[in-house]
């Protein structure tokens, strides 16, 4: 490996080795070379280094992220608390031929950063990134400060014991917080944001013979840890669901009117519709949806939006990895396929807009013989066919506009996406979100028609 001295690297980059921002060795600069409590000092080093890169490349940027992951898990015999911090800087440059050059490093010391930048550039001048902008997180419950949330998992475990009785063989609570601070410098912008993604909940496990059934009550948000409150009726519903599955009947197969609860409809939107609208999938010919742009793929009741700027949304952020401001994007507008997700981006908060129905009962009143699908387990699409497979943990029978009380076990909804979107007749007005990996999937209760198999 090339042996770098800090002085030689900074000189090669056209920077003075004594720059205060680079932690030049004086006592007053000590913090810059020690722990990264925040990215303040790193930000100024990035400005210098990306400025150097800007002279050489048409596009140059630096993205620094420090992420503290706090996880608590509690059950009857154990409590685990983890808090680990990782930091990384990614330098990106695009050369005159359009080749994107990327250099990552976990060494955030000024020397480490300079070495990484020097891998991409040899000469230097300065760049202009405008006035630094900071997007502060608005948090009700900050993981960096003590608060009610510190006892969240234990208190939730205590409350969960009141639900489900002895037939629930195992309960575990969790709190998972990703506290991420990100700096972007490049392309005329100098930005900082803090995103705190938090999810907390309780899992109830019931057992019948050799089979276990799990049901989870969960909240997820970027609005702060005190917003993760789970009400007692939600705990009761989750415990009841785990127990009800123990005696559920084998589901029927065939075509039915279907009311999807917000988890099922949300999974449908987030896992079946959105993945076929990835820019990159269209570009390589892997998505059937590409041939349907500006065509009808659903009923007038279907409008699907991806909105990373949604306040408190689990997938929200202020700017993306290329420093572009978060903004909503309408993917399907009243049934017409309008757009892909932004280039290189995956869904953030993707949701189906609410409709006119006052509630679930109003949707069911329009159903003579159908099923209410609840508790999505998984959903997928084969983008080449834009087909859908959605597994729900349970279904309730609807007859003549009302629930009959008959409960069925796990079943699969399958078909193709335009077919199911085209059959959407109505939706309730209240959109509820389910958390995925760094994203949220939202939908109201939805009335459609499709084929299920048990």
């Amino acid at each position: 490996m090339t042996a770098w001295s800090r002085r030689s690297v900074l000189t090669a980059l056209g920077l003075s080795p004594l720059l205060p921002a680079c932690g030049g060795g004086g006592a007053g600069n000590r913090r810059a070379t020690t722990a990264v409590a925040s990215l303040g000092s790193t930000r100024s080093v990035l400005r210098e280094l990306v400025g150097s890169m800007s002279a050489r490349f048409p596009y140059a940027a630096g993205l620094a992220a420090i992420s503290t992951r706090r996880r608590t898990m509690a059950d009857a015999t154990e409590i685990h608390r983890e808090a680990t911090t990782r930091a990384e800087v990614v330098f990106t440059a695009v050369d005159a031929q359009g080749l994107r050059l990327v250099r990552r490093t976990s060494d955030l010391s000024p020397d480490g950063l300079a070495r990484a930048a020097a891998d991409l550039v040899g000469t230097a001048t300065r760049g202009d990134f405008g006035k630094p902008r900071t997007h502060a997180a608005k948090l009700d419950g900050d993981p960096r400060r003590p608060g009610p949330w510190t006892q969240h998992a234990e208190q939730l475990l205590d409350r969960s014991r009141r639900h489900g009785g002895s037939r629930i063989v195992y309960r575990t609570t969790f709190l998972d917080v990703d506290d991420r601070e990100v700096v972007f410098v490049g392309d005329g912008r100098d930005l900082l944001q803090r995103v705190v993604r938090a999810r907390g909940g309780v899992a109830f496990v019931g057992t019948a013979g050799s089979t276990t059934y799990t049901s989870v009550a969960e909240q997820a948000s970027t609005a702060g840890l005190n917003t993760l409150a789970i009400e007692d009726d939600e705990l009761e519903a989750a415990a009841d669901s785990a127990l009800a599955l123990l005696t559920a009947r084998r589901p029927p197969s065939g075509e039915f009117d279907l009311v999807l609860d917000p988890t099922a409809a949300g999974h449908f939107v987030g896992r079946c519709v959105a993945p076929a609208l990835l820019f990159d999938q269209w570009a390589i010919g892997a998505s059937r949806a590409a041939a349907l742009r500006e065509q009808s793929v659903g009923s007038e009741a279907v409008t699907i939006i991806d909105d990373p700027s949604l306040p408190g949304g689990f997938g929200s952020y202020s700017f993306d990895d290329e420093g572009l401001d978060a903004a909503p994007r309408t993917l399907i507008d009243r049934g017409v396929l309008r757009d892909t997700l932004a280039r290189g981006r995956s869904p953030s908060n993707v949701y189906l807009s609410g409709g006119q129905a006052a509630g679930r009962d109003e949707l069911m009143s329009d159903v003579t013989n159908g099923l209410l699908l609840e508790g999505a387990l998984t959903a997928y699409t084969d983008a080449a066919h834009w087909s859908v497979g959605l597994r729900a943990s349970r279904a309730r029978e609807i007859a003549n506009g009302k629930l009959t009380g008959r409960l069925y076990g796990p079943l699969l909804l399958h078909g193709d996406v335009p077919g199911l979107l085209g059959a959407v007749r109505a939706a309730t007005s209240d959109v509820r979100f389910t958390a995925g990996d760094d994203m949220a999937m939202g939908a109201p209760h939805l009335l459609t028609r499709g084929t299920v198999v048990g």
Partner: protein, 435 residues
Amino acid sequence: MIDTVVNALRQRAAVAEYAVTEVKSRHAQRSAQRASSGDRHEVIAAVFYDDAAGRGDASLIVQPHQLADLSGLIDGAIERARRSRGPSWRLPSPAAPARVELFDDSFADDPAAGAFEIAQQIDKALAASGPLADAAGEFVRAPDASVKVDLISTEVRTSTGFRGVFPASRVLVSLTLSPVGEALEAGTSSLRLHRRRREDLAIEAALIDAAQRLRRRRRARRIDAGVYDLALPARAIEEAGPGFGWFEPLVAQADGAAARRGLARYLPGQPIFGDTDAGGDPLTIASDGTVAFAPLSLPFADHGAPVRRFNLVDKGVAAGLGLDLREAALANSAPNGGVRNLVIEPGSLRTDRAGITQNPLLTVSDLSHLHTDVHTGDFAAAVALGSLDGESVTGATLLGNVYSLLATARLSSEIAQRGWYHGPTEIRFASVQVV
């Protein structure tokens, strides 16, 4: 850096025991529009705190720029360990690491050169008049082709005196083949390889296979609903992912912590098929993390736990659990480093013969999705490409239960090694529902 962290932990009376891991890695990635490289250097320490209530533990991560604040990081970890709680246990005496080779010397010390050379191999194969065009029957492209080479050094030290260090290499190749000049709904085939050695990629053969699958995919008709016997070649088993694909429920049941909490479907000594009669070949599956250059092999796992081969299933009966140091201590057993590469004993199936029942035989080449419920074993799988009586088919969903399926499994007598999967070249199952 590991010396500094170990010395600091040694001086803390509140730390009952510790295990420290230093990871240094460098990677390089090449694709058509991107050249990426990077380094990672960190120390991960597990800190154990004992009191009358039992043992608490916590982890801390130290990166190079954080060394000056090491004392504060350790204070934080001790406080979290003190506020955690669990049953009492102790780190065992050090055990000898497994002897296993994991580093491809051909990469020397230069991941960028390795990634570039493999990317060039792919570019050459993709040349307009090359063998891929012949295999696909048309000109093909792979605009998202990506090659990543990782070179990793791992060192572990514990308070019980364990010291171990090993180098490892890893190559990831990922690409989607599609026809040149068709951007919309063209049909694609994909290639995903995860290997430790360059030579195990067999990149040219893999690309030709992907091109042949693309050709078949472009001509495939939709599968009719019904009941079929199912044949899974080794490649389709390995690439079914995520994780262990079809075998994910079996691996989940072998988790020592799940078994201790009473959440496993069966325990060692019990049949894995439940009430279902096993009509297939005897099923014996081992975990082996000592296979040279296999992707999940290691000489030792977290905290220096020795990696050992053990049986998960022996002739249809659950045999062993994956045990890290903690679960082994709580089970009063020997640690084995958890479930690693799966080795499945061959059977007597002749793959040149017809299916195993009167049902038509559906051979699946590619899945676009596989979901298995690790608690119940229920699965749903979307077929991207298969063959039925020599005709290419696509677009259906397979439904069923992994345990019911495995009870009917017929295993070929020939074996293949593909990534984490070491077993029959083909496995056949009876009576799978297709919708």
